[in-house]
């Protein structure tokens, strides 16, 4: 079979990208960019003046080849056919990130602050390029249908997310990974095992079949659709049971992706708290990523926390598959292939279900600890420096007005060590130690001070923390890879699949999903601080 379709679609995509670059490069788009940034410097100027050129050229060249070249069956044809879909996703991501999301922000700011929340409607509803990208993907897949020439490339979006996770490995410090890993093992262990157990228990009370209970418990407990896909053949789920389970998870997951960031903003959760909550409470792993980026679209701290939880979940998946296989065989006596509980091949289950991309994540983390991506003095991809020799600029010292503002608000800060750090900042005009910087960061994340005071603290933090160039590049790439992946995943969520939600799975899923989200919220707020 020849996969590459002789169509001009990819060429047109390439020309559109080049048109964007040309518009920016020649200044034709300046009025539009000025309108979108409301008078401030347009924050994506670096990206928009380079990315459309690079990718546009690739798309035009490949597009000509697709349209006019001869194609023969084989590996080259298959991989080349994926470029069209990949470029379609990329173009949609570009349009949303650079034009549509900023336009929504402009409209939202024009509408004014919402009540006494101190936030604009786009902030409250998380209407940023990530959420809008997923929504655009869902609309395209369900209203217009993914065109045939783009189908292979749309599947490629999974690769974008996995590559994003692998690169993310370079951004954690050993201490962060240790603390986050420990926290996620406890939280995920408790909530995954708890939800799997509760679903199996409710299932037996409501007399649902063992196969239904098995597939539903994995989906509700571990990582949503991915767990359902992994477990369904093991517990011999019937097609209708698979459809009900996946429909329920998708519906619940998409709902959570919108609801979680709103609740997170209303409760003024910190990045760490929100990342931990989303990573535990949202059923489906794709929506965990979406919610984390929706909560913090212009940074990846929340994503870094949430992704550790996602990785923990997927590492637990082989164990859950094994558990359910043994549970199912014990209940049913045997599987269709004649496997008995003593005959389950533990090694084979672990190897076939092991997420290989996690090894890439670990490798990147290991490489980053050697100082390959940033000098050894860098901590967490950033290094602390408050002397001119270390890159501190004297004009960043706090002025009298700023210190006065902080002095007026210091009383609001609860923690003694945080107050001490702010006092030292007031006294010296700059942050003096890494510990003080961590305390200041925690105050910023908690959002307890006024916007003006928080802005002063953020500026003081930025003045002493310097990001290594390679790490900064990684952050950019990670943001793009996740945005790309999520638009593509949106294109794989069909309303007809979601419509299958119903029956017992919907009732049990609703109960367990709600308990999990509410309990994990309480645990996170009570036990998790603003930093790790």
């Amino acid at each position: 079979m020849i996969y590459t379709q002789k169509k001009p679609a990819l060429l047109i995509i390439g020309l559109l990208m080049l048109a964007i670059w040309f518009g920016v490069d020649t200044g034709l788009l300046n009025p539009v960019l000025a309108h979108l940034s409301s008078g401030k410097p347009y924050k994506y100027l670096n990206e928009i003046s380079s990315l459309p050129l690079y990718f546009g050229v690739v798309a035009v060249v490949t597009g000509c080849w697709h349209w006019l070249g001869p194609h023969e069956e084989g590996q080259l044809d298959y991989y080349s056919s994926t470029i069209a879909g990949g470029m379609l996703i990329l173009l949609i991501t570009m349009l949303i990130r650079w034009f549509i999301a900023p336009q929504i922000e402009v409209i939202s700011v024009d509408l004014g602050l919402i009540g006494n929340t101190g936030k604009y409607i786009h902030e409250l509803l998380g209407l940023n390029y990530v959420v809008l990208g997923i929504v655009a993907g869902i609309i395209i897949a369900n209203v217009f249908k993914v065109p045939d020439w783009a189908r292979n490339g749309v599947r490629l979006s999974r690769l974008g997310l996995k590559t994003g996770v692998i690169l993310l490995g370079a951004l954690y410090s050993a201490a962060e990974l240790k603390n986050l890993g420990g926290l996620s093992i406890i939280m995920i262990g408790f909530f995954v095992l708890g939800s799997v157990g509760i679903v199996l228990w409710i299932g037996s009370r409501r007399n649902i079949s063992n196969s239904m209970g098995g597939v539903l418990s994995a989906g509700m407990g571990v990582c949503g659709v991915s767990a359902t896909v992994a477990v369904a053949p093991v517990v011999q789920a019937k097609p209708v049971e698979i459809a009900y389970t996946i429909g329920t998870i998708l519906l619940w997951g998409v709902g959570c992706m919108f609801a979680f960031p709103i609740i997170g903003h209303l409760l003024d959760m910190s990045y760490v708290q929100f990342g931990a909550w989303a990573g535990t409470g949202i059923l489906n792993s794709a929506q965990v990523v979406g919610a984390a980026l929706a909560f913090q679209p212009d940074g990846i701290e929340t994503l870094m926390v949430a992704e550790i939880f996602n990785i923990t979940r997927v590492l637990i998946l082989p164990v859950i598959v094994l558990w359910l296989a043994i549970w199912y065989v014990k209940r049913e006596g045997t599987t269709s292939s004649g496997t008995t509980s003593s005959g389950i091949n533990v090694g084979q289950v672990i190897i076939t279900k092991f997420p290989v991309f996690v090894l890439g994540f670990i490798l990147m983390f290991a490489l980053s600890t050697t100082g390959m991506f940033a000098p050894a003095s860098h901590y967490q991809g950033k290094y602390f420096g408050n002397t001119p020799a270390q890159g501190f600029k004297q004009e960043n010292l706090l002025n009298a007005e700023q210190t006065e503002q902080l002095r007026a608000e210091i009383i609001v800060i609860d923690e003694n060590e945080d107050r001490v750090a702010v006092n030292r900042l007031i006294k010296n005009g700059k942050i003096m130690t890494i510990e003080d910087d961590n305390a200041i960061r925690s105050i910023i994340n908690a959002g307890t001070l006024s916007d003006e005071a928080t802005a002063i603290l953020s500026a003081a933090h930025d003045a002493v923390r310097h990001t290594a160039r390679k790490i900064e590049a990684f952050r950019q790439w990670i943001t793009w890879l996740f945005a790309f992946g999520l638009v593509g995943l949106g294109m794989q969520i069909t309303v007809s699949s979601m419509k299958q939600a119903g029956g017992e799975p919907a009732i049990i899923g609703g109960i367990v999903g709600f308990i999990k989200a509410a309990l994990s919220l309480i645990v996170v707020i009570l036990l998790i601080g603003d930093t790790v």
Partner: protein, 157 residues
């Protein structure tokens, strides 16, 4: 009673479809033909949803499992209805299609001339039926485009 010689019966074994099967048997002429249409809805194609954590082996395993199970269910339905129809004086043949159920039905009536099309009623709300998926055949588009008489069997009480 008016009897029909060539009937297209849509059934995938739900309660509503079984009522349609019974009605088709009642109104089929002796030695008449009943073509059994069974549609695999197109949403199965996207049933791996937004899974991205699994590796290719697991996804392939799932797809092949799902394909086998869907095939097995269809075989069971065809065999059951074959036995049921063969017990009367009618002849049975099966038509298996993939896609949107209403479109598949329309396509069949375009390829072959039928005296009557028999369908089951959509499942009433809050009526449990563990065989049923949300995939209605009786759409407005079908009713508008259909050139053959349609008989919709009432949902069993």
């Amino acid at each position: 009673m008016l009897l029909f010689r060539h009937i297209l019966l849509a059934s995938h074994g739900t309660l509503g479809a079984i009522a349609a099967e019974d009605m088709a048997l009642q109104i089929c002429a002796d030695n008449g033909m009943i073509d059994h249409l069974i549609v695999v809805p197109e949403f199965w194609q996207g049933m791996t949803g937004d899974d991205w954590l699994n590796n290719g082996v697991t996804r392939d395993q799932f797809q092949s499992y799902l394909q086998t199970e869907l095939g097995r269910e269809i075989d069971q339905q065809c065999q059951r209805l074959h036995r049921k129809i063969s017990a009367s004086a009618c002849t049975y043949s099966s038509l298996i299609q993939f896609g949107r159920p209403d479109q598949a039905l329309l396509q069949c009536t375009k390829k072959q001339r039928y005296d009557l099309v028999v369908l089951g009623s959509p499942r009433p709300r809050r009526m449990p039926d563990l065989m049923a998926l949300r995939s209605t055949m009786l759409t407005k588009q079908l009713v508008t485009a259909m050139q053959t008489a349609i008989l919709v069997a009432p949902y069993p009480k």
